[in-house]
């Protein structure tokens, strides 16, 4: 049913694009990628007048479905396609699939505590807060890390995303890495069952941010770009090297650079170990067929994403508060795209 719906919309949108561009590429997927893609594709079209790119931000799940049904030229997803999804796409007649990292971002931990301008948290304490084991701000475990801070004797309100999202995946992936209990009790996914008894869900980054801003004593995870643009106070998180850091594009970039060997099956870049590494980060991926039937379109696709994962487009990403891909990951993207047979 969803597919039909999506197709109807796709048709509507496609027909709404005026002009007679020689090639119109269509893609669908991640909402997180959308601000970057719309700017980047616009710039690409400006430089290549005969190419139009039409991207629908319907969510990663929908993007994978449409890509599998081959109703779009490319999909975009915050979590790479898994073995089952790949098998479905391949047996659907599309052939083997390439997954290319194109966007990098971080997740920061924002909070609302009047009079507390600096809040330090260790991974274990953060996990215990989200597990509901630490329920008050003046808990000894938090007080020990923040000597001198006036921590109130009030309940911690744990805020999370209520809509399925790549941000939630990255955050729960991080908690699963740092807390065995989280891994077995909750796990990592785009939507999870939140164990803390004080947990409330907000829809979208703006929903979570709104909840945090309006509830004294709240803590929540928000996409880095959103936190920067809205100047929210964020907690300093201890990384694997023992340093306390606020989330920043530099910290995320440093973290990504420590894992130049990311693959679609081993893609996690959370809890990385270097002094400058911010520990909660993740990629968003573009999925393409390695052996496209229409070679001219395939050639355009390859050229488009070589540009998108390259320096020029990544600079555009950084103006939108995404984190530009580190050089070694750009090289990885180029290597993957080189496998496209066009």
């Amino acid at each position: 049913m969803r597919k039909t719906l999506v197709l109807t919309f796709a048709a509507l949108f496609a027909s709404a694009i005026p002009g007679a561009a020689a090639t119109t590429l269509t893609g669908a997927g991640s909402t997180w990628d959308y601000p970057f893609f719309s700017k980047a594709f616009y710039e690409y079209s400006k430089a290549h007048g005969d190419v139009q790119v039409n991207y629908q931000s319907i969510g990663s799940g929908g993007g994978i479905q449409q890509f599998t049904a081959r109703t779009v030229d490319f999909g975009a997803t915050d979590v790479p396609m898994n073995a089952k999804e790949l098998a479905a796409a391949e047996s659907g007649g599309g052939g083997s699939v390439l997954q290319v990292p194109v966007v990098l971002g971080g997740v920061s931990v924002a909070y609302n505590l009047q009079g507390v301008n600096q809040l330090k948290l260790t991974p274990g304490v953060l996990a215990d807060i989200y597990l509901g084991k630490i329920a008050k701000w003046n808990d000894p475990a938090i007080a020990k890390l923040n000597a001198g801070a006036k921590l109130p004797d009030s309940a911690i309100i744990v805020v999370h995303r209520s809509d399925g999202s790549g941000t939630t995946y990255t955050f729960t992936d991080y908690l699963s890495h740092v807390s065995p209990e989280w891994k077995t009790k909750v796990g990592a996914s785009k939507s999870v069952s939140w164990p803390a008894p004080s947990a409330v869900g907000g829809k979208g980054n703006e929903g979570v941010a709104g909840q945090i801003t309006n509830s004294p004593g709240a803590i929540g995870y928000v996409e880095l770009a959103y936190v920067i643009q809205n100047h929210m106070p964020q907690a300093m998180l201890q990384n694997a090297a023992g340093k306390y850091l606020e989330a920043s594009p530099e910290g995320v970039r440093a973290a990504a650079a420590t894992r130049p060997d990311v693959t679609p099956t081993s893609f996690s870049i959370v809890d990385t170990k270097c002094a400058a590494c911010y520990p909660i980060a993740g990629y968003s991926w573009v999925v393409l067929y390695a052996n496209p039937q229409d070679k001219t379109r395939g050639k355009t696709l390859k050229d488009l994403f070589s540009w998108v994962s390259g320096d020029a487009a990544q600079k555009i990403a950084s103006t939108l508060d995404y984190v530009p891909l580190p050089d070694n990951v750009q090289a990885l993207a180029a290597k993957t795209l080189a496998q496209m047979k066009v």
């Binding site: 319907i58 969510g59 990663s60 939507s191 999870v192 069952s193 947990a199 907000g202 829809k203």
Partner: protein, 314 residues
């Protein structure tokens, strides 16, 4: 007249009549067909979940996409309770406002007031949601909640930690959203009551207030009831505004200050990123439940109305 009738082609007119009849039957049948098809496609999509969880889907409380364990009880609870709060508040205020507009307000005031109320109905629900999140939720958390807790805190429904985004906030936002429906329709119904009734009542010596309370309102209660059922339907199905202010926690709590979750909100939140037949099936089964819940609520209110009317005649 004569000339026109003379030239009429009766066969053609009869054919046209038949065509018209077919057209209206088809239009009516289309609705039935649409409902059946919607129901059918929901059942089809929900099939994996229907098979796996069976009837237990209705009374289990876990909603865990990771382990793929799904139960809808807290969601049914949240949907019914938030709508109930809304309909009680909007029902009382709406009927009173309608009575004022129809019977008491001078026309220079009634017209612009009705216009403003109808304007309220045209505000998109996401705007109500934003208002609820940024204005109403802090108000509930800082002012209304503590006040209720201080005065009525002995009741379990006003106990516990006060959250800004809660069942109560959702109920309040929904009440504001359905208020125009209740008021506008009730007003129309009251205005339509025969003038004779009012005059008869007044001539018997009843005051204006007595006439409205004891004659006009009872006479228009079927229509008012219809307005309430319509408004309730909107409250049950409302998605975006509820999602923004209810806190989205699939849990049954006694307190109205606790976060909750509704059927429509879960679908809105999780559908775009759901994968796997079972997960999508469970979400579609929620849609099916929403369908069934609305159906039952509608049916019950009709029964109630029937009982009230029958009691009247006896």
């Amino acid at each position: 007249m004569q000339r026109v009738t003379k030239g009429r082609n009766y066969a053609a007119i009869a054919a046209l009549d038949r065509l018209f009849l077919i057209a209206i039957y088809a239009a009516a049948a289309l609705f039935v067909l649409l409902v059946i098809m919607l129901f059918g496609s929901l059942v089809k999509g929900a099939w994996p979940s229907l098979l796996k969880f069976g009837a237990a889907f209705l009374w289990t409380s876990q909603w865990n996409p990771v382990t793929e364990q799904f139960g809808a009880l807290p969601l049914i609870f949240g949907t019914l309770v938030s709508s109930f709060i809304a309909i009680v508040l909007a029902g009382v205020v709406g009927i009173l406002a309608a009575a004022y507009l129809a019977e008491f307000a001078p026309s220079w005031l009634a017209r612009p007031l009705s216009f403003v109320i109808e304007l309220l109905a045209a505000v998109p629900s996401v705007v109500f949601g934003l208002w609820g999140l940024f204005v109403l939720a802090p108000f509930v958390r800082n002012d209304l909640g503590p006040f209720l807790q201080k005065t009525l805190g002995f009741l379990p429904i006003f106990s516990g930690t006060i959250y800004g985004t809660s069942l109560l906030t959702a109920g309040l936002v929904l009440a504001v959203m359905i208020l125009p429906t209740v008021t506008a329709i009730s007003r129309e119904v009251i205005v339509a009551i025969a003038q004779d009734l009012r005059e008869a009542s007044m001539s018997l010596g009843a005051t204006k207030w007595e006439t409205v309370a004891k004659v006009v309102l009872p006479a228009s209660r079927v229509g008012i009831f219809g307005a309430i059922v319509l408004a309730l339907g909107r409250a049950i199905g409302e998605t975006i505004a509820t999602t923004m202010v209810i806190g989205n926690r699939p849990e049954i709590a006694a307190s109205l200050f606790a976060p909750s979750y509704t059927l429509a909100s879960v679908i809105a939140n999780e559908f775009t990123e759901a994968n796997g037949a079972l997960y999508i099936g469970a979400l579609l089964e929620l849609g099916l439940l929403l369908f069934v819940v609305s159906f039952i609520v509608n049916g019950l209110s009709r029964l109630l109305l029937y009982a009230v009317l029958k009691g009247d005649r006896a």
